[in-house]
Symmetry: C2
Subunit: 565 residues, 2 copies
């Protein structure tokens, strides 16, 4: 289904109508549809893909719920003012002002983060009560900036779908399954393979959408509201290149996340916000370039006897930084040479790490024999052989990396980098980059061989003999954070901050107040669920549009013969 | 004149009409109006400010003209394919692919840089021939990346208005004066104090604009086209924060550059491009925060016995980097501490630099007794006194710098930084940051005391005794680079790359193909003049709109009594 013009359509008959039309059936759309349905609204959900779930399906589906019921039961205090300080401090660090009524944020951003605090917990509880998303409390998972003085509740805010495995990596599959089942059970009218192309606008109000379905264009009317939850623009290279702060490669968002609401919302006069930021994640170069739909971001860089080096063979980064921070390191600019010197880094590990840290979870690059692809893995019996393999692979990608090539003395420098790394690993103290110093860095360490007595489980000396392994890593997005600006109740606003009647948005398709922050694991889905709840509750109060009968056909006249499902 | 809704207006009578309506009377609008007028079109130029000139008035008005007549006369070859390689290599370094037909750029970007090569020289020649912009060839000025192998014509591309003083710093005043005089002479109808608020669109075609003038709203019809040249969004903090790749403070664009065409163009369905990039420049913190309309970017960081240190007192950057590159250093992110550690740097100099490098040109911070403001200058007889002064000033700005404060041992670290700097200055080799290594770094060195025999005129040891001086520096924009996407002929396009009939744009109000590059001094105005020429030549070929007579009043019916001038 190709993209068509996003210019709004006008009056005319609809093929189907509902109170609420939800666009997108992932981590934002499913909750929005459920909350709307539970409010008594008729809901049609249009999903572009062949299946529900969007990006959430691929995620661990942690969700970050400040001041949640479990914390309160356990006596963990998470007062609003401290939560707001933590969020503001990280969202706009250069503007953070604890003495300001909005903590240095814009009024809109401040209102948005208050909305998260207020609604994430009731939203999560309602989803659980209705058996749409039973959860397990991850009481030991720390925030990503747990050490900041502003973080007064550094652990306890994370939930995961109840049935997820111990490692939580399949949380998305579980959560999407339970929410989808609840949507079926409770009568959400789900129509897959429908790509919404544009809004239907009559007299300045959004009264429906036009979508491309399996049988062609269909017009779906919305008596109360259209709620977009169609994801970000991770898979639109043009939007990435022209909006994101870093020239990130693709990422692990659902492959259907092509920025549809950037265009559709703009065409209705919405203002765009936070278009420069993304939820970032390192990614294996090969899968990012090939736009592999199964691509997982590297949420966890596995291995202790493992390091990253640059094209000169030098270690330049703390490999265990949280993924959002690590991903940004690839885009440091060298103002003298006019290049991104770390655009592609090389992960190097030894046989010991291969044997003890292999995993097919969380996008780890050290894979074992579980069936996960190892097409990205290069191998050499010696560092010189490894250099040959890396050089050959890099050459294959030179046209999409600005001509990336290894330095002539790469193996020599790598040997020196390993020597220094090994010396520091012996002591457990990374004097260069502080690897393993923070709780969050250990959280994502992955499996490593137990080494009794060591103080830093993220580091161990690499072996003096091969085989050695390597993979090419770059920075990508989990998904983007920008899009139309919406009120704390999800109402999309125009250039004068006036709500566009009937138009709502939640999730990665609208602007996130997180700005540059990745507050914690689940800081994506927790707020998204909160906003889905608020949008559904606001949309249900919209008066049914009084457009002429020729515009909104009654549901009895739906052209059911189209059999969209 | 406050901003109003940018939602397009519809049919209705006009207060005035012309063939071409130009919005903005700066470095893009004046040439666009002149070229249009010389094509025989009636032109109304609407300028928001009380005077013509926009950002160009404040600039040195270098303009970069590849393969120009003077180069050809002097036998300097500047072949197109090499020019394109140089431009592409710097615009999108991470995509640059010399083997690709578009060199790794998008087709649109490639077509745009070809248009610059093709049209900058004829445009410059025509402006000179008509006595609107006589020029002086700056035959010795190098490109900013002259050392790159892709730059086959590293000197010779820069022009400056003919009557500019030797230092060229008043080029903008001269160029704006000559172009304004030509516009008056040749019958461009110039109307100041008119803020265009929205387009008038009838049957999908742009047929005019609505502006707020001294007497209220006026509607100005355009029989052929409206050409926007209204500047970037340097002075809209919301747009800066939500689009730019770096959280830059304000800058030296005309204070009226508030992103008007981002909103107005979007409301007509234009797609936005290159919204993440800006022409960047260091700026003195105080003027940037106060939005001083007279703010000059620091195009030249003056002084040899001068260095920059961070809030810990450590030297962290090559102070003589070209301004666009230097400005980006302020926004390096520290992923462990969650802050921009270099958001504000401290320029420190000694009495020797004060006496020999003072200047009121090019935004230099070492000012003498010429009347330029020295409100940003801090002073101490000792480094400890200097620390006190800097600490006090930083505290004053803590609410807008994320709580910036000097480290306790700042003066000690500064002393050590000076010692190391002095040691390197003795040898003329900056082993830490390569200061003075490139031609462009020496170009902007400013006045320094002659020191016979030294090899590096950008460095000299700081005195062991006071007084010492300091100033707070951060990163800002000269102006931004993003906005509606336009074809190489200036036609603004919608989300399907279809030209929006009657709508054109040139200059910093539309997307620049330079992406992240600042190719050379004058790489702003040279291309802008080229695109003004192309837009005027395309717009003149537009058929006069056949909208009903009630929409376009004849010029005889203009309500001249409004006396807009």
């Amino acid at each position: 289904m190709n993209r068509e013009s996003a210019a709004p359509a006008g009056a005319g008959a609809f093929d189907a109508t509902a109170d609420i039309v939800v666009v997108g059936g992932g981590g934002g759309g499913l909750p929005a549809a459920l909350f709307s349905r539970w409010n008594g609204d008729e809901v049609i959900l249009l999903e572009k893909a062949e299946q529900l779930g969007g990006t959430a399906r691929k995620a661990a589906f942690w969700y970050w719920v400040p001041n949640n019921v479990r914390m309160r039961e356990a006596g963990i205090e998470d007062p609003e003012e401290d939560f707001l300080r933590y969020a503001a401090r990280l969202s706009r660090p250069q503007q953070y002002d604890p003495s300001s009524p909005t903590l240095g944020l814009s009024e809109w951003e401040f209102a948005q983060i208050r909305a998260i605090y207020e609604s994430a917990s009731p939203a999560a509880e309602l989803l659980a009560e209705r058996d749409a998303l039973p959860y397990r409390w991850c009481e030991a998972v720390p925030d990503y900036w747990a050490e900041l003085p502003e973080d007064r509740a550094p652990i306890g805010r994370v939930f995961v779908p109840e049935g997820a495995r111990e490692s939580m990596s399949d949380g998305g599959l579980v959560g999407v399954a339970t929410m989808s089942a609840a949507a079926e059970r409770d009568g959400v009218d789900i129509r897959l393979r429908h790509r919404v192309q544009r809004l239907v606008i009559v007299d300045g109000a959004v009264v429906g959408v036009e979508a491309t379905g399996p049988q062609g264009t269909v017009r779906v009317g919305a008596r109360k509201a259209v709620i977009f939850a169609s994801g970000g623009f991770t898979h639109d290279p043009e939007l990435r290149a022209n909006f994101l702060s870093a020239p990130a490669y693709g990422g692990c968002a659902a492959i259907t996340n092509e920025g549809d609401f950037v265009r559709i919302g703009s065409a209705a006069g919405a203002q765009l916000r936070n278009m420069n930021q993304a939820w970032m994640c390192p990614v294996p170069l090969e899968s990012a370039v090939s736009r592999d739909p199964s691509l997982s971001g590297m949420f966890s860089v596995a291995g202790d006897s493992m390091l990253f080096v640059d094209k000169t063979g030098r270690r330049v980064v703390n490999e265990k930084l949280p993924y959002n921070e690590l991903a940004q390191m690839f885009f440091q600019w060298d103002p003298l040479r006019g290049e991104y010197p770390y655009l592609v880094l090389v992960q190097v590990w030894d046989q010991r790490a291969q044997e003890n840290s292999a995993s097919d979870e969380y996008g780890r690059l050290i894979v074992g024999s579980t069936g996960a692809s190892d097409a990205h893995v290069l191998r050499g019996e010696t560092l010189e052989e490894l250099e040959d393999a890396v050089r050959e692979r890099a050459a294959k990608y030179a046209t999409v990396t600005g001509g990336l090539a290894l330095a002539d003395d790469w193996a020599d420098n790598l040997r020196a980098s390993i020597a220094r790394f090994n010396e520091m690993a012996e002591t457990g103290v990374d004097r260069d980059f502080g690897r393993g110093e923070r709780a969050v860095q250990q959280l994502f360490n992955g499996d490593v061989r137990e080494e009794p007595g060591r103080t830093n489980p993220t580091m161990w000396p690499l072996s003096a003999s091969g085989p050695y392994y390597a993979a090419l890593v770059t920075g990508g997005t989990l998904d983007t954070k920008g899009g139309p600006k919406a009120t704390p109740d999800g109402q999309v606003v125009d250039d004068m901050d006036r709500p566009i009647p009937g138009l709502y948005g939640v999730g990665n398709c609208v602007a996130s107040p997180s700005a540059r922050a990745y507050w914690a694991g689940g800081a994506t889905l927790g707020p998204i669920i909160a906003f889905a709840y608020r949008a559904a509750n606001a949309a249900t109060k919209e008066q049914q549009r009084t457009v002429s009968s020729s515009v909104l056909s009654s549901s009895g006249h739906d052209r059911e013969e189209l059999a969209w499902r």
